[in-house]
């Protein structure tokens, strides 16, 4: 479980996150939604420690991450898998080397065991025979799947995804969503997904947190989102004609 308590973050006097508190449960896909510039990515990066927070706490299963020493943080980070918006695969390494990299650094496995684990992770994300390719030689959707494979290589307890569907066609986006949800449930991982893809919200939003102008504005599930009378949330989620029709049909 990941908990955020009264988290505040500002840049050059501009407060981006204001007193955000939230709980992200294991085995569930926890979604953070909000408009561009609302502070979603800053929140995600504050949770994983890429941004130093000004105030508040971030807890990983009752371990106060934001107050840990660098070495303690290092240990927790080995339990975190992160999927970046642009995949962030190391472009000078092949697919196999990318997935094997965390194993090379942190595991005591033999080469054969590492390769077995790489192939298992690739198989888990439905990729075969791409071991020798460089990231630039595979499609965006495949890069995302390789990034997921790398994120799960060390059996993480926490999976953080920053806009995993950005730049993907709707069909591939659904595949990635389903894959993240399957992995979350299969390994009982605490997953946080930062998205503004409404298809993701409707399909895998087991818990949704809506961020508006740096504040937590609403919290609920994908079913509850249909019944909310929060105008700002409705304007954001049901902005398109298609989603307006879906809401109308649901009601």
């Amino acid at each position: 479980m990941i908990e955020v308590v009264n988290l505040c973050k500002s840049f050059d006097g501009n407060q981006v996150l204001k007193n955000i508190s939230a709980t992200f449960e294991p085995g569930k896909t926890n979604l953070i939604i909000g408009q561009s510039g609302s502070g979603k990515t800053v929140l995600i990066k504050s949770i994983v420690g890429l941004h130093t927070i000004d105030q508040g706490e971030v807890r990983y299963d009752d371990r106060i991450f934001s107050k840990m020493s660098t070495d303690q943080k290092k240990e927790v980070r080995q339990e975190i898998g992160m999927l970046f918006q642009g995949s962030a695969l190391f472009d000078y390494m092949t697919v196999q080397e990318n997935i094997k990299f965390p194993l090379d650094i942190f595991s005591k496995m033999s080469q054969a065991e590492k390769l077995e684990r790489v192939n298992f992770c690739l198989h888990r994300v439905n990729l075969e025979k791409v071991n020798g390719f460089y990231p630039s030689e595979i499609s965006g959707g495949m890069q995302k799947r390789v990034a997921i494979a790398r994120a799960i290589a060390l059996n993480p307890r926490y999976l953080i995804c920053d806009e995993p569907n950005s730049g993907l066609d709707p069909q591939t986006a659904i595949l990635i969503d389903e894959l993240i949800q399957e992995i979350t449930q299969e390994y009982n991982i605490t997953t946080i997904i930062n998205t503004h893809d409404m298809n993701s919200v409707m399909s895998i939003g087991e818990k949704i947190i809506f961020i508006y102008k740096g504040q937590k504005f609403w919290e609920g599930t994908k079913d509850e989102i249909f019944d909310t009378d929060n105008e700002t949330l409705n304007n954001f989620v049901f902005a398109s004609e298609l989603f307006k029709k879906i809401k109308k049909a649901h009601l």
């Binding site: 990066k45 994983v48 420690g49 890429l50 943080k73 290092k74 240990e75 927790v76 980070r77 080995q78 975190i80 992160m82 970046f84 918006q85 642009g86 962030a88 695969l89 190391f90 472009d91 990299f101 965390p102 090379d104 650094i105 942190f106 953080i160």
Partner: protein, 247 residues
Amino acid sequence: MLTIFYHIGRYTLFVKKVFGRPEKHSIFIRQLILEIENLGINSLGIVAIISVFMGAVITLQTSYNLDMPFVPRYALGLAARDSILLEFSSTIVCLILAGKVGSNIASEIGTMRVSEQIDALEIMGINSASFLVLPKVIASVFIFPFLVIISMGVGITGGWLAGSLSGQVLSADYIYGIQYSFKPFYVVYSLIKSVVFAFIISTISAYWGYYTSGGALEVGKSSTKAVVVSSIQILLFNLLLTQLLLA
């Protein structure tokens, strides 16, 4: 003025972070060998080409300017040797390497920053500065003196070729000149400078790359800043080292 102090402070902290303990020695050695090839071996061509031509030009220009009966012809070899040993092979070659190697380091690390590859390393619990930069610094400090020695040899050979082929100096005079009143400390002085310049180029370029923010445009700007700042620092430290070592 405040900006300069800000960068000096941040650069000092960055260098401290770079010299953190490597995560795994086997991976560090592999990275180091790759960097020696990338930053050193791949620079051999440009160093050799520039050195041979500069050696030739130094010899010919000295010849045209010292065309006096009371100046012995072997002075051409002597002048070419001292120019190459004292200044060209260390300072000028390192300024050229600041352009080639410095922009390479800054753009590579800058691209990794803007494409979140550095964040990915940090999330894994890896000291990204040490992992990415330390092999480059050690590779540069190790390989630059070899490049400088090669430049000295090639430059002096270029002078000999140009001088003898153009008829400005007899081969025997030139060879006598390069041996005349030779001070081995000049080579040591040049090598000390190359080690200092290698450190300057690799750390300053990595610093600008590491703190890139934005996109492709900013990567280009960081690369330019890396070359400009490295070059200025090379000239400054050249002055300091010359005063310290030769005065």
